[in-house]
Symmetry: C2
Amino acid sequence: MALEHAILVSLAEKSASGYDLARRFDKSIGHFWKASHQQIYKVVARMEADTWVVSEVVVQDARPDRRVYSITVEGRAELLRWSRQPAEIEPLRSAYAVKMRGLSFVDRDALIADVRRRRAAHRSLLDSYRADAVQNFADPRALSDERLGPYLVLRGGIRLAEGEIAWCDEALSVLERR
Amino acid sequence: MALEHAILVSLAEKSASGYDLARRFDKSIGHFWKASHQQIYKVVARMEADTWVVSEVVVQDARPDRRVYSITVEGRAELLRWSRQPAEIEPLRSAYAVKMRGLSFVDRDALIADVRRRRAAHRSLLDSYRADAVQNFADPRALSDERLGPYLVLRGGIRLAEGEIAWCDEALSVLERR
DNA sequence: TATTACATGTAACGCGTTACATGATTCG
DNA sequence: CGAATCATGTAACGCGTTACATGTAATA
């Protein structure tokens, strides 16, 4: 769907191989858009056929060759065109919420374990976000244009993680009160 | 994936036709799990083959016949089995966040329009959640077991919507300050 | 010696979306 | 008189996941 555009944004920041992209989609960008390396190789090949990116083989010694992709003028134009059409508000799809909704039909202890697991996961996410904020955005007022986007996304990640944790805490306080 | 289980939860609450389910997946359950009627008809048919549900044709006058599905003992057992395996923490996938991340490469006015649109959408979602809370969960302390699940999910919806709105407000305050 | 990192793919499969299809009734 | 509601499907397509495939070098 919009994996193409997530890749375009990533390549606009910095050229990268499929392997590099896969790692980025495991970390920073991956916080709000996941993609496997298989999917990335497939899509980026198509993007090259569409002239949105060009690749160049970089020979390495003692390591496999890398095919490094860079965004083209056409790719930047496509990014702009895409950005001008409204982003749909993606419906959330949460098996966790389904399970909670079915509280009276499911295993209650398993549900509580899920809430705890979810709380822990979002807690550690939040910690890593905060570390990122301290390290890379010490002074948010003095941010260049290129760093403003990543900063705002990080702020969103923090707010959403805080919301999730608060939800888990509320659920636990209710569920554990017998 | 787990549409089956969302349907099982819904049918455990109350038997329904495919059409009824489709409407539920447009409203209450649909807030955290979307499904089209085409998908529902396909899946519920398979679920009947798996004996998780049974159907009964209800003849109506002046309206098409309805095929009403009910959960079976096997269906309830499956719900329990499913609930015992940990719910994965679903990765979020947001084209909106991609666009914001690419702030310096995209159309800034279009991005601001997206933030406003998103804020409005979550604002109206939040309003409907709150109305639901007032109408159906006036006294959260005196909640039966069957109503606890829906209540907690609603609380989650409220918290997440609040987080989204706060994020939009923060983004707007930064983006509009030139 | 085994695993992780580096590096790039192909193939099968399935869930979910979009488009198409039908037909009566009620409401504005 | 047109649109929405009620009611249930089929067909084509595509994105994304899972499994399979290969091979070197550094690290534990």
